[in-house]
Subunit: 415 residues, 2 copies
Amino acid sequence: MDFQMGCDGLKQIAVLGHGVVGSGVMEVLEKNRGLIEKRVGSQVEVRYILDRRQFPGLPYSGRFVTDFGVIRDDPAVEAVVEVLGGLEPAFSYARESLLAGKSVITSNKELVAQKGDVLLALAREKGAHFLFEASVGGAIPVIEPMHRCLDANRIQQVAGILNGTTNFILTKMLREGCTFQDALELAQRLGYAERDPSADVEGLDACRKICILASLAFGSHFYPEDVPTRGIAGVKPRDAAYAARWGGAVKLIARARRAAGGRVALEVSPMLVPASSLLWGVGDVNNAVQVTGDMAGDVIFYGRGAGKLPTASAVVSDVITALTQEGPAPSLFWGPADPGLLLPPSEAPCQGYFRVTGLDREGLELFFPGAFFLEPLEQGEEALITAPATQGELDAAQRAAEAAGGRVLSRFPVL
Amino acid sequence: MDFQMGCDGLKQIAVLGHGVVGSGVMEVLEKNRGLIEKRVGSQVEVRYILDRRQFPGLPYSGRFVTDFGVIRDDPAVEAVVEVLGGLEPAFSYARESLLAGKSVITSNKELVAQKGDVLLALAREKGAHFLFEASVGGAIPVIEPMHRCLDANRIQQVAGILNGTTNFILTKMLREGCTFQDALELAQRLGYAERDPSADVEGLDACRKICILASLAFGSHFYPEDVPTRGIAGVKPRDAAYAARWGGAVKLIARARRAAGGRVALEVSPMLVPASSLLWGVGDVNNAVQVTGDMAGDVIFYGRGAGKLPTASAVVSDVITALTQEGPAPSLFWGPADPGLLLPPSEAPCQGYFRVTGLDREGLELFFPGAFFLEPLEQGEEALITAPATQGELDAAQRAAEAAGGRVLSRFPVL
């Protein structure tokens, strides 16, 4: 990559927030200043950093401001990096920046998952960029290759391991037989999980990310609150053992599929992933996104999904795009939510894994015809993989089995 | 992905060659015409197809021509798709197209590996595109995410499994104990290997691809003939067994690394890949490219690396780019070869795997101090992993061991 353009002039940006990602952005800009400015074709200066806190002693301590209006009203600021996290004031700041004709770059998945359609429409109207590569998969390029490189395809499915914390916990449970609680504590000790891990563990983080990818793939906004979301707290080492016996693994999968009638099925849940899937081998804190195009087949984007400098480098790459490309790419866009587009969960095609006590194999076969039974790991327990069905049919079968004295200890979809 | 631009007007292209990829391009354009034209914002018509052969009975039989001059001299043709393969006449046609101000899209790795710098410079001069996403990894997005999404990074290494045929053969040898000859015959029966498999088996195909990726990553053209290249014919099932015992696998790896003094070490060879590497699990005909950035760390692009429609869909995506983006991206560029940039192979840092007879462990330790010995699979044979060294030091150690009566049966680098 060689850039023979001159480095004349100066381009000014602002960074909202000086937390982990914000300070990482400063570090990437400083460490790779030479190559970044070559790529932009001019000097790049962070004119303002917005943070309520004081950071004395930094080489750029003089650039901190506490009033967003200073940034909004400075016409020299071409692009605003929003790395505050959370919905407000991030949304107001992003909106006002775009209204002022400034491009906005964010790593904030909550913001994109809740307000992506609004901000994309505003960016288009103003001829500015709204870019968010870092909101999914950290440094792993996903958004850009999806809308630029797979644009001769009709996307059929996006499925991924989108949360590194839960993937680490499940890897520990499956490979080393840890309990959920022990694995979570280890993740916290290693700095992979936050003190309050609920957004990761309950699947909300993965849900926000799959909503962003589904919106991009299918052209309409999808809201996290409309997506059936289950976290990993219910996964037991015993389930991992049955999954291994079956020749697979239990992973927290976020999935969006084009279903019958062009509707879209969306779901976040622990799933049984067969060893034949490219996602099966994705362990530890890694993330992977599998995109299936009607022409390209499966392609996978893979790597560490988080981390200060990786995430910051994805943000800075978007800054380079915002400062060098005329206007937003028409392919990076989606419209408002279309309530009729989402398939009701009960109609979603589904194959299920059930672990049951209280009924024997013959009894269970009545409710789950055509099921494949795994060799039991304990007397009185049965584990089975159902024949293909819909979610609603499996719900009904479960209710019937429970009415007959069965007790469902675990139930997950099969990928 | 929604595109609210109108579909006014007509954009005309030409396709050079109606073989596997060329007919695939026609199929993708036809099958996904609606979404492609939405993305381009106008109708897209293949005005001419260049082929010496006749294809009667096709809906577009009337568009075949045998004289390239017709295409070159028609100012209505905005972009030319070159899928002839080989260096000539592909290079002349690409050059003349660019000289006439037309963008060129190619899947031809030989063309890019031999003439990329010349064609990129000409494209830049003429304000036209020279695009080649399909030349590496089929439908897997690699070129575009490398130069667009990792542009805040100094690339440290690009390493990949870039040839599906040889990866299939090695997978069969390692997992099922097939001989090389049996695995090759199976690959031919399944249509994965050509009747003359030499470009795949001898590593030339992977070498061309790593030269393209290295040129993009390090900014100067690298020629395949300057790259030490070994194919897979020397890999024995026994080596696969030792690799498994060590906890890894033998893979044909193409690798470009930034070494001391900013120079670049390039190599294609079977290598021992540890299970901790993300490339270890890449089996069958899949390809994977691992890019290591100084900020992003490792990211991997993964999928099927070949196939008619996948490759054609990558070509069509480049056509969309050529027809919609003003002028070439400054980041998709490299300069002429810089002979001083390539590290002499003997100076390349290297850890080696050796399989030896004729010397016992004590004897071998004299020549390979600090080596790690694997448990022998046969009496009189030793397999070892050397301490980190340079290629030249390992050459000298091998010569000394041979002079002392050792016989080296296999030798590969460790990734």
